[in-house]
Symmetry: C2
Subunit: 184 residues, 2 copies
Amino acid sequence: MSDNRTKIIEIAETMVRSGGYNGFSFREIAAQIGIKSSSVHYYFPTKEALALEVAERYTTDFFAALGDPNSANGATPEKLRHYCSVFQSAFESSGRACLCGMLSNEVALLPESVRLAVIEFVNANISWLKNALSPATGDNKTSAAKTIYCGLEGAMSAAALTKDASWIEDVASSTLASILGEEG
Amino acid sequence: MSDNRTKIIEIAETMVRSGGYNGFSFREIAAQIGIKSSSVHYYFPTKEALALEVAERYTTDFFAALGDPNSANGATPEKLRHYCSVFQSAFESSGRACLCGMLSNEVALLPESVRLAVIEFVNANISWLKNALSPATGDNKTSAAKTIYCGLEGAMSAAALTKDASWIEDVASSTLASILGEEG
DNA sequence: GTCTATAAACAGATAGAC
DNA sequence: GTCTATCTGTTTATAGAC
């Protein structure tokens, strides 16, 4: 695996998380590495191919950080707090919003393959949360999962806008308090 | 007020809500009206000026739909349900995400005046919610307001991605149930 | 108020030399 | 694997005719 190939994906991720799908270009990625845009095309024939690989790598890394929701280690409260902390460090290490949260808003201009990758990220988050929630949540498991996920995505967006990580902390603790409270 | 001026703002709003700040162009707006891009420049000298007016009009219309949070008509539960319904109809009438939620993610590429307009929208939402929340919420009023706002923004984004309005319904009812439950 | 014409920059993408 | 050169189309924006 070439070093430049990895650099391209990393720079592209940063740029997408700053300006969305239309916010990155082969020319600017190349300039940041010190090569020409045609060399970027050597690794990724099209913009769609590059964006897709960025989304897939982001999803892989994100779920690697999350770990197994069915793990015997830790009960529901610990698992949910861990989930929130992954969002928090995703923001704090970059000062940027979630890649897939960013792309979600841009459905209309995404190539089909990228759109499907983003939907996959969302579905995987809901699944993870449903597995982490204890049976006591009952019939509302899906709603609870959606509420946690959407709250954190919205909080990351507000945190990026205001450059203030406390949005994520506040939303996380408030949301978890009510959901865990209901579980007793 | 010229008819075309209004059309320009309306089309620009639709386009920004589809593809963000980089997702609209003078040429395409002109084409949809049936004029030339130079005629769009007659009304709005720069892209920044147009985007700013779009954001301001969106904010004005949004808070007109919300009404006065201090109104004597209706208690906290009714006010909060009304707040959620405004997000819901903003999605259902367009199938698109929130204009300011969209732009929030794109801070890095926004002109300063537009960035400030988006922050103003966010702050105004938090203020509205804090006024609508009953004193019983106590010290956590700000966190509760942030949680409601971020949850709905995230839900609008997911709804736009999946073309499924139920995200907003689910997050709204789940979030309100816990906050109103805490208030007794 | 709308047009033509144009500028200067940038986009994604390709062909072919080295 | 990286380069030069180039194509085609797009962007924001301006000058000036009508």
